[in-house]
């Protein structure tokens, strides 16, 4: 190396191109934000990417459109318009089913339609979203404490059971009955969360395994219970329980508007959990244990007690989600009463970055996808499973922000912390 090279090597590298924000125009600043990939941008791009893949799936599985691709080179316009038609119809239905149908709006404005029809899509969205808020919060809270609560499904199922049984077995006056039934759901879920919690605290049994196993146990228990005397609807031979008393049901608008008090409860609980995490002593312990259990233990925090209590609260939240589902929407127990709310709750929590209000927004997005998906299935004939695929893809892209960045050639963000990369094992 010559002396010149050595001198050059010791010079400071050229200053980075970083003009202060004041000196840039608003537009430049906006473009800079987009380019630098902060959390919101990655979320939006993930949704876009997922929808593109969804579009490919739609095209590939439509026999007619596939046929037009056979002679693509001869007449590309057929394939392209065919694809565009089927995809846009599907996604338009997704929008109309979840937010608003422009036709219904115009009909209401010129008097030929009802206002209920206008708000039905939003009502559907919120109806589906409500239980997801609870199961999402359950997973998110547990994650903050360093625990994987994959058992939201089982805890929700037990919550469904206890709430429903309280709903049809206890003769109580109106308001009290609802509260008691909700409480029963909460307690049921808490119990189902307590088991993996105490096992983790006492024996170190990994909660991923115990909660997954308990999911299936709860599901089997439900199928057995529905057919027992005292639970099964005496007027039916199929697997359905007695109907919950109307005094225990969550009030809704009625008719086509299924949205019920569940969503109100969801918002209140979200606020409560947000307060819990940031302002309560327990929340402090949860965050400390989640970030560094060894340091928390050295500072006197009982990690075992925190884990147990955390799983109890997480279970209670999921149980509340099950209770909301059965008292607000389903009104009776069936083997599939809890649907997929536990697993969807996991996706919702990841999408919401394990933060309470983020989880709420993510739950609403998922509720919208589900509501829109229903309409997409009825009107465009696209299977509802596509919604599952979209949801999974969005979460994959969120959880791997590096992947999205690579695809879109975005620069790494300096400030935003993307993804919940808590790589742990058993």
């Amino acid at each position: 190396m010559t002396t010149d090279d050595a001198v050059k090597a010791t010079e400071a590298p050229p200053p980075p191109d970083r003009r202060t924000t004041e000196s840039r125009s608003f537009l430049r600043h906006f473009l800079y934000l987009i380019w630098s990939a902060n959390t919101v941008v990655v979320t939006v791009l993930s949704v876009v990417l997922a929808m593109i893949i969804g579009a490919i799936l739609i095209i590939v599985s439509d026999a007619d459109v596939l046929a037009t691709f056979a002679y693509f080179t001869a007449r590309p316009s057929d394939a392209l318009t065919g694809s565009w038609d089927v995809v846009s119809a599907a996604y338009a239905d997704l929008f109309k089913g979840s937010i608003a149908d422009p036709e219904a709006v115009t009909a209401w404005l010129n008097g030929t339609g009802t206002w209920q029809a206008v708000f039905t899509p939003i009502s559907e969205t919120l109806t589906y979203a409500a239980p997801l808020v609870f199961t999402g919060l359950s997973v998110a809270l547990a994650f903050r404490g360093g625990l994987f609560n994959i058992g939201g499904q089982g805890q929700a199922v037990i919550g469904c059971i206890t709430a429903a049984v309280a709903g049809f077995a206890l003769p109580l006056p109106v308001v009290i009955h609802v509260l008691v039934a909700l409480l029963a759901g909460l307690v049921g879920g808490a119990l189902w969360g307590f088991i993996p919690g105490i096992l983790k605290a006492r024996t170190g049994a990994h909660e991923v395994i115990t909660t997954i196993m308990l999911n299936y146990t709860a599901g089997l228990f439900l199928t057995w219970l529905i057919l027992q005397n005292g639970v099964q609807d005496p007027n039916r031979t199929d697997a359905i329980s007695k109907t919950v008393d109307s005094s225990a049901q969550l009030a809704s608008f009625g008719g086509a508007l299924r949205v019920n008090l569940g969503i109100v409860l969801a918002v209140l609980v979200t606020a409560a959990i947000a307060w819990l995490l940031s302002r309560s002593a327990f929340g402090f312990e949860v965050r400390a244990v989640g970030a560094n259990p060894a340091a928390a233990k050295t500072a006197g925090i009982s990690v075992a007690k925190t884990y147990t209590l955390l799983m109890v609260v997480a279970g209670a939240l999921a149980g509340l989600g099950g209770a909301t589902q059965v008292l607000g929407t389903a009104h009776a127990l069936t083997p599939a009463v809890a649907g997929n709310i536990g697993f969807d709750g996991l996706l919702v929590a990841l999408l919401g970055r394990n933060r309470p209000w983020g989880t709420l927004l993510a739950a609403i997005l998922f509720g919208a996808l589900r509501a829109g998906g229903n309409r997409m299935q009825s009107f465009s004939g696209i299977s509802l499973e596509l919604v599952t695929v979209l949801q999974a893809l969005i979460v994959i892209f969120i959880a791997a922000p590096a992947l999205v960045k690579t695809i879109f050639h975005l620069r790494a963000a300096r400030a935003a912390r993307l993804g919940a990369s808590m790589a742990k094992g058993w």
Partner: protein
């Protein structure tokens, strides 16, 4: 003792290594800044520097674990690029790491064979166990490093594990061996053996690069010494250079190795440990019947090589590890069986030895870390809620009092330097009334300025009447701080001596040789 092979083995080609202008950056931090280094064939070359000076980073680049941003590596005059350890090994360079790279559940032979296994063919490579064992025994005998090929590594003592690492490097037919802080966990006896091995290896023509921060060892075995400070070479020296000059090169100014303190005024017995027995994580007896007393207003230092039970002793006192037998009395209460929280509440302050692991929560802010053990006590909060206002104002006060260099009390603690993180821990523990203060390795990995500050605060705490227990593997620190020194070896307190005791005697005690044994040998 050790047998030395008489002559240079056949096929030994001495290796000359040259590093020119090696530069490595990690973000804004320049870990190596245009470092030059030359190692002559058959030379024992010591790389001397403080913790964090950049020595390991430099060697990791030489071994192919990292790639230099600038600079060249020349082996025997030829430029080489090492993209992985394979390339380094192929060039004849081997490395024994500070934290052993041994798979605990494998045998010695499996560990040594790993990566260079002898196989009998087949697509998956059917292992030839006999040849692997034979290779181990051959190398072991050739260089006089006894190892048992069938022993499980996790059952071996530290010195034996290190021998396995050296044999592992030698079986790869290396001509230059890098040893990264090899004596950090050895007893003085094992250190002596290792230094002899190093001299023997260099006599057979191998070059050795020996990374350390211990002046005495460097003077005992090195042919040449390169001193590194803050990522730069600050000079080469010969082993005759006086210690204080070497130390000055290492830290950059005249370092006072003395701690400024007056005489102690011990009062009542605050901590009384009787017959304490504690097991370590593997169920092996770590503390084997310890009796100890610490009085108010004095500093009791526990000296000893890391791994003789000091860690477990302190953890047992703090309730972080169960005691199998014995009692631990704080004034009149027996702490055995009490929760850590209650022990802390009873007026005990604790600085754990590994602050990044169990001292601070890196993701929490400075303010939150300052209340990590008091968040549910007034004024910071109660059993249900926190009091953010009180937490914030107290944080501001303490940041000032303890000179914690941070841009704001709400910054995450991970943005602070090691020394400032330690000051956060010290501030946290010293900001409440204490009867007993326990500090384990209080200045490990801390810059010199913060070391002086922390030492002065410890002496201050002693002077207001707190009983202080300091555990440190740096003998200088113990001698400087303590009013009485207890030497711990294999789970027992061998003797309690005054700090004026000659260092050689303390060294012998640390190696397990008591006065009685010495006398009986004469």
């Amino acid at each position: 003792m050790l047998k030395l092979p008489g002559d240079c083995a056949e096929g030994e080609i001495p290796l000359r290594l040259e590093l020119r202008g090696i530069t490595k950056r990690f973000g804004d931090l320049v870990a190596n800044d245009h470092i030059d280094l030359t190692v002559e064939p058959g030379e024992v070359h010591a790389l001397l520097g403080e913790n964090g000076a950049g020595k390991s980073t430099l060697m990791n680049q030489l071994y192919g674990l990292l790639q230099p941003d600038e600079g060249t590596i020349l082996v025997d005059g030829e430029t080489r690029i090492f993209r992985s350890p394979r390339d380094a090994i192929a060039a004849g360079i081997g490395m024994v790491h500070q934290h052993f790279m041994l798979v605990p559940v494998f045998t010695v032979a499996e560990n040594i064979a790993l990566g260079a296994e002898e196989t009998r063919g087949g697509p998956l490579g059917w292992l030839d166990r006999r040849r692997n064992r034979r290779d181990v025994l051959e190398t072991s005998q050739r260089y006089g490093l006894p190892v048992d090929p069938d022993a499980l590594v996790e059952n071996l003592p530290v010195g034996a594990q290190q021998r396995v690492e050296i044999v592992k490097a030698l079986t790869r037919e290396v001509d230059l061996l890098i040893l990264d802080e090899p004596t950090a966990v050895l007893t003085p006896q094992e250190t002596e053996e290792l230094l002899t091995v190093m001299r023997a290896l260099s006599d057979t023509g191998k070059s050795i690069v020996f990374i350390t921060h211990k002046l005495k060892e460097v003077k005992a075995v090195a042919d040449r010494i390169t001193v590194i400070r803050r990522g730069r070479t600050v000079g080469t020296a010969s082993p005759d250079t006086p210690e204080h000059e070497l130390a000055a090169l290492m830290v950059g100014r005249d370092v006072s190795l003395e701690v400024d303190k007056g005489p102690a005024d011990p009062g009542r017995q605050v901590l009384k440990i009787s017959g304490l027995i504690v097991d370590d994580d593997r169920g092996v007896r770590a503390v084997d019947g310890v009796n100890l007393v610490v009085r108010a207003g004095e500093v009791l230092g526990i000296a000893g090589v890391q791994g003789n039970g000091q860690t477990e002793l302190v953890e047992a006192v703090m309730g972080l590890r169960p005691a199998r037998a014995g009692t631990i009395h704080l004034d009149n209460e027996n702490l055995v069986g009490m929760s850590t929280k209650r022990i802390l509440r009873s007026g005990v302050g604790y600085i754990p030895e590994d602050r990044s692991l169990d001292g601070v929560v890196r993701e929490f802010s400075v303010a939150e870390n300052l209340v990590l053990d008091t968040y549910d006590r007034p004024p910071y909060g109660n059993a249900f809620r926190l009091n953010p206002g009180a937490i914030a104002s107290s944080a501001r006060d303490r940041v000032e009092q303890f000179d914690i260099r941070t841009s704001s009390p709400d910054s995450a603690v991970s943005t602070l330097s090691g020394g400032n993180q330690q000051k956060v821990v010290v501030a946290r523990e010293m900001s409440r009334p204490l009867r007993l203060f326990i500090a384990a390795q209080p200045t490990r990995g801390v810059d010199v300025g913060s070391i002086e500050f922390i030492h002065s605060r410890i002496v201050q705490e002693r002077d207001v009447g707190t009983a202080v227990l300091v555990v440190s593997s740096e003998l200088d620190e113990v001698v400087g701080l303590a009013d009485r020194i207890a030497v711990m070896y294999r789970g027992r307190i061998l003797a309690i001596v005054s700090p004026d005791t000659p260092r050689e005697e303390i060294g012998l005690l640390m190696a397990g040789i008591t006065a009685r044994e010495e006398e009986s040998e004469q």
